[in-house]
Symmetry: C2
Subunit: 397 residues, 2 copies
């Protein structure tokens, strides 16, 4: 569970003034002292922001040196000027650390439809570059530099020994939370000193994201800026990982991604519960995931958990409209380990005990089993509270 | 806009005691004095209630005489006994009006997972049968007999002259609102004195539902009991309608369905706005409808309207993740007639004027135009308020 800066990286987080509160960092740099292999996974939204366009062009790569992230302004829906600003931001970050302009990747989050305040971004990059460090005193401000309305910074890490080399995988993320009068964005940067070729970085990241960041939702609204980046700079030494060694790295990467991904709904706006859904017994993984997403996004399921209500009807009926065929007589449901529904019918259960277990724990586990096949999926979401509505509706009043 | 009982029908609504409040009707009868052609459209949920199973078996039909509806108990997830209870309820209603047992259809809504209190249902049917009438003093209690947490009863009607005959189409509905610790259901019964054959009733109802009841959502949760029934008993006289005459009937039927369908989100739990979405310029209707549904079900779009926030970003980005390909540069958005976004970019607009127009009207119109083709769709939904969350989360506290 070691969370530290991997070998060959320096990081920093500063306040540039894009956010009003001077105590809040709003710009972060992650710098590799040598060329790193890098890959990205991006929002599937047809309406995507300028930084996503830039990073898509530049990844996968085997020569990235710096990631610059800002919060407070998402540089989305800003047209040609937005693209130029993203390019300038990348160039400034690259120049500040002695790299080529195209060796930088960019992340932005915050309000949309407004141009980046390039003067503040520029001076922020300069001061961040002057503060780069490889200790925790640098790592936490860097992680904070990409936050919007998150209540806590999100860091995760794993140290693994692979073929005698100690390898570090560290990640930072921001949650799907609202910013000003605008929209949700999920960002993550994972960086490692593992030696990996470009192709492996791309494949490993896609595999890890599939079962982690792509298995969370807060409100089902997909942002214009969602991005997960992975950098691997090889500072741990040795030849690029292959075979079992690569599989060991992938295991550590997935653990870091699980930690970061879960931390997002856990810190969802107004959330009072982190809900883990485990769907099993489906014909294939796509079916299991579709059921998981449908149950996770049902406002009636979410509000039932908010109210500590062991409402099997809402959960089973949400599965029923997921668009996936199944035999209702094969459905069994557990909530926090209590069986509520078995083989297609409700069973007697201690409603007060289940309700207490929901109310007294921040984590709720919903297990829904079908009789269709061997496939399973895991998904994380939040409940839905009056506080969520207040945060997203009432900021003008 | 005439709302009256069509020729050849009598109706009644009574309190049986399934609902606790003695002032609230919880059982309704709609009786035709002759065999009526009848059809139904039912929930697509794989987990469906006993009354849905029964009505599916019996429709389309050309010999229905009675529809019996109860609220307070949905007879869902009740297994074989639930099916037998639905059959008994149908038989009791048929016997009470001198019809054969299989000439009755059944609707139930309310709590799920509990058996119908058949003694109360039986005595309720008997007293309703003794009170049948064809005036407004009978119609309103009948409409109220199928309500759950609806705040108003929902009636609509049209009178049309077709080939010299005066034809009446009248409908009653209940909304997608929550009941006790349970789930949302939408029910409607539309009854007409038009002469229609079984095939026409089925086709006309399916066409009308497609563009009305299937184009509304409150929270996207599809119930186990959703049902729309259409009866046509021919009491207006003449041969079954065909060709242009049938098309005139279909027009009146669709108007009644629009009125009823809109009344459901308009009375959604905690709703402060009825949102009408008009999507145009799509390649085909399925694409337009998919975008409409995605925007309608976005909690961020809903809460923006709650907060009177002209937030084009949330609306455009929701369209962007609908899974329908489109050129973002072809998107134009109006809210309440104000242009917020044109040809892929935000435009200058008077934010206060738009916000005032949202705040000061219960109806909000969102028009989203694309440049992909000629197809359009219309959809109705509600906003999302703290009151919705309170109603659905806090009933145990």
């Amino acid at each position: 569970m070691a969370i530290c800066v991997p070998k060959g990286y320096r990081v920093a987080g500063v306040h540039t003034g894009v956010k009003r509160d001077a105590r809040k960092q709003d710009l972060a740099l992650v710098v590799s002292d040598r060329d790193a292999a890098a890959a990205g996974v991006y929002t599937q939204n047809l309406v995507y922001a300028a930084p996503v366009a830039l990073d898509r062009e530049r990844t996968p790569s085997d020569r990235i040196r710096v990631v610059v992230a800002n919060s407070g302004n998402a540089n989305a829906c800003t047209g040609q000027r937005g693209l130029e600003d993203a390019r300038t931001m990348a160039r400034l970050a690259a120049e500040a650390v002695g790299a080529e302009p195209d060796q930088a990747l960019v992340l932005s989050t915050g309000i949309i439809g407004a141009y980046l305040p390039m003067d503040r971004i520029g001076s922020g990059i300069a001061s961040a570059a002057a503060m780069l460090g490889s200790d925790e005193q640098s790592l936490v401000p860097a992680a904070r530099g990409m936050l919007t309305t998150d209540t806590v910074h999100k860091l995760a890490g794993r140290t693994v020994t692979i073929g005698g080399r100690q390898i570090q995988v560290t990640g930072m993320a921001k949650g799907a939370a609202m910013m000003g009068p605008n929209m949700a964005t999920m960002l993550a940067v994972i960086f490692s000193d593992a030696p990996l070729d470009k192709l492996s970085v791309d494949r490993s990241l896609k595999a890890a994201v599939r079962d982690t960041f792509n298995c969370i939702s807060v409100d089902g609204h997909m942002s214009t800026n969602d991005t997960v980046l992975l950098l691997a700079n090889g500072a741990a030494g040795g030849e690029p990982l292959q075979g079992d060694d690569l599989a060991m790295f992938d295991g550590a990467l997935e653990e870091v991604c699980v930690d970061l991904a879960k931390s997002i709904p856990a810190d969802g706006e107004g959330a009072s519960h982190l809900i883990t859904l485990k769907i099993s017994g489906c014909a294939d993984r796509a079916a299991a995931l579709q059921i998981a997403k449908t149950v996770a996004n049902s406002p009636l399921v979410k509000t039932a958990i908010t109210g500590a209500d062991p409402n099997w009807g809402r959960i089973v009926s949400a599965a029923g409209y997921a668009g996936v065929p199944f035999d209702p007589a094969g459905v069994t449901l557990h909530v926090n380990g209590f069986m509520l529904y078995q083989a297609g019918a409700p069973v007697d259960f201690d409603a007060k005990a289940v309700s207490d277990s929901i109310r007294q724990n921040r984590d709720t586990l919903i297990q829904l089993a079908f009789g269709e096949g061997p496939a399973a999926a895991r998904f994380w979401t939040t409940d839905l509270t009056t506080e969520y509505v207040r945060l997203n509706a009432d900021y003008h009043t």
